[in-house]
Amino acid sequence: MGKSDPRLRLPWYAHVPVWLYAAALVAPLFFVVVSAGKNNLEIFTRPFYLPINDFQWSNFSEAWTRTQMGLALLNSVLVVTASLAVNLLLALPAAYSIARWRGRGGRISEAIFALGLLIPGFAALVPTVLMSIAVGMYQNRGFLVAVFAATSLPLAVILLAQFMRSVPDELEESAMLDGANRLRILWHVYLPVIVPGMATISILNFLGFWNEYLFSLVLLGGDPQLRTVQVALPTLASRTETHYGILMAGTLISIIPVLIVYVALQKQIEKALVDGAVKS
């Protein structure tokens, strides 16, 4: 930034409110982390104390076994991975059609996709549950995958279509003259160009699917064999035995995958969020 930068330099005291705000944002996470190694008495009497010497490792093993966390993590990984894959597989051809089809159908389809972005997801919750029962797929992870993949399609298709429009027509035409069919063109000409778009969608979807609570809870009916991490975790909190150390240990375990992804991909996550907002 040069000397002519019209943006201001900030006096130090202007940072104070931001520090306070940032501290307020971090405080709940701070208490999650330090409380994970304490018992209830210590959480209350010494909230800021860092339990270094008497760290309650048993909180973590308790949280792990009580929620059957291993199974829940496996379920989450399965559901999220399958949903990401199905979503991209369905979105690619649809986005290609919309980006390249000049007929009336392309416009109409894109309009419907755009409308799909406005429909609140929760509205479909109960009818979806009834439908899953009707087709005999209640408490079935495959059905949850289908719901995840389908409900996130509008954004995926619109974003991918925008990336695909950047491929010059001539490139595709010459490929066609060489005798390539549509699927081969999609695979060899488009795929390399739209990798950033696919990354953006996968990041947004990963956060959305991994963090999703409601549909996972209702469609899987809380079955301990099938439930995801987000559904398993709140079962630790029940009226009769509120042991916050264990609850916080479980919470910490459950966000480790998200934290790893955040630390590794923070820039890309921010870009994905902006792309999702601006391009749609």
Partner: protein, 327 residues
């Protein structure tokens, strides 16, 4: 750009539109058969119809019946809708929800923009740290946030009450009665990082030359903000208002997680009144009471409210939002 219409306004390259005269590059598309198009679109159309349109239509049908999954179903006309209009519990839930929207949407956007303006300055080495910290809560799962808030503000063992007591004050029952509304509000502001990141990206797209020219003309910082920056980013602000209104009106999972004493069941009973938002009431009518018809009617009433508010926002923003393509 805004959520839905922008998708419809993507510019068509000149000469390739359906009505344009054929150009050399358009020849290839002639060989693109409709059947290919529909083959590529079918999986999505099936998914969209099956998992979005059909459930919504089914809810609409249910709203005109006494459907409960058990007894014989019969049509009841508009009975569910008239019942909703007279339901005082629903009025309370709608008031809580509208109050939440009226506070979180404007404050969230202003605060997010203020933070974005700050991050857009010459902050040097501390900027990445600010960004990371301010954005982090908004990507965490809702369960994490709700559980953390329940622990921090717990009446008996929470650190906040522990600090209050050590200062000689009384412990506050944060999650009881009306005061739980403030918990919900605080939770909404926890995830403000998304507003910040979107605003920041739009700020960085404001052309430097414009701002520099204004400096030369003697415009102060506040004038530059008011006359250049705000008009330039107004489409993004509009986008945030629209999505903020829609998500605030249908928000209920945080309320359900923070208010439900026994989180392991599907049945969130005993939620304090400050957390009884509209969609939570709908959810309870479905799952705790099994009144599918009535709950569906409430759902469609909320739809109407959402559409009205969205239309209102667009109507009010007419002529006040600047689109670069019009300039």
């Amino acid at each position: 750009m805004t959520a839905a219409p922008a998708g419809l306004l993507v510019e068509e390259p000149v000469g390739t539109g359906p009505d344009a005269p054929p150009t050399p590059s358009a020849r290839g598309w002639r060989r693109y058969k409709s059947s290919t198009f529909y083959a590529f679109m079918t999986p999505w159309i099936l998914g969209f119809v099956g998992l979005t349109i059909f459930p919504l239509g089914f809810a609409l049908w249910m709203s005109f019946t006494n459907y409960d999954g058990i007894s014989r179903t019969s049509g009841v006309g508009f009975e569910n809708y008239t019942r909703a209009l007279a339901d005082t519990d629903l009025h309370h839930a709608l008031l809580v929800t509208l109050g939440l929207m009226a506070i979180t949407v404007p404050l969230g956007i202003v605060l997010g923009l203020a933070l974005a303006l700050l991050l857009n300055l010459n902050l040097g080495f501390i900027r990445p740290a600010y960004r990371a910290v301010l954005y982090l809560p908004s990507i965490l799962p809702v369960t994490t946030g709700a559980l953390a808030f329940r622990m921090v503000f717990d009446q008996d063992v929470g650190p906040v009450n522990s600090i209050l007591i050590s200062l000689g004050l009384d412990a506050v029952p944060w999650f009881q009665g009306g005061s739980s509304f403030w918990m919900l509000l605080a939770f909404m502001f926890w995830g403000i990082g998304a507003n910040m990141v979107i605003s920041l990206a739009s700020l960085q797209a404001v052309p430097r030359e414009l701002l520099e020219a204004a400096v030369v003309d003697g415009a102060g910082a506040f004038q530059r903000l008011l006359r250049i920056t705000l008009p330039m980013i107004s489409p993004i602000l509009l986008f945030q208002i629209v999505t903020g209104v829609i998500s605030a009106l249908q928000m209920f999972v945080p309320a359900m997680l923070m208010g439900n004493s026994n989180m392991s069941t599907l049945d969130p009973t005993g939620v304090p009144e400050g957390l009884q938002v509209y969609m939570l009431y709908v959810y309870m009518t479905y799952f705790s009471m099994g009144e599918f018809g009535y709950a569906s009617a409430m759902l469609w009433l909320l739809f109407i409210v959402i559409v009205i508010f969205t239309a209102l926002v667009f109507w009010l923003s007419k002529g006040r939002v600047f689109y670069a393509s019009e300039a």
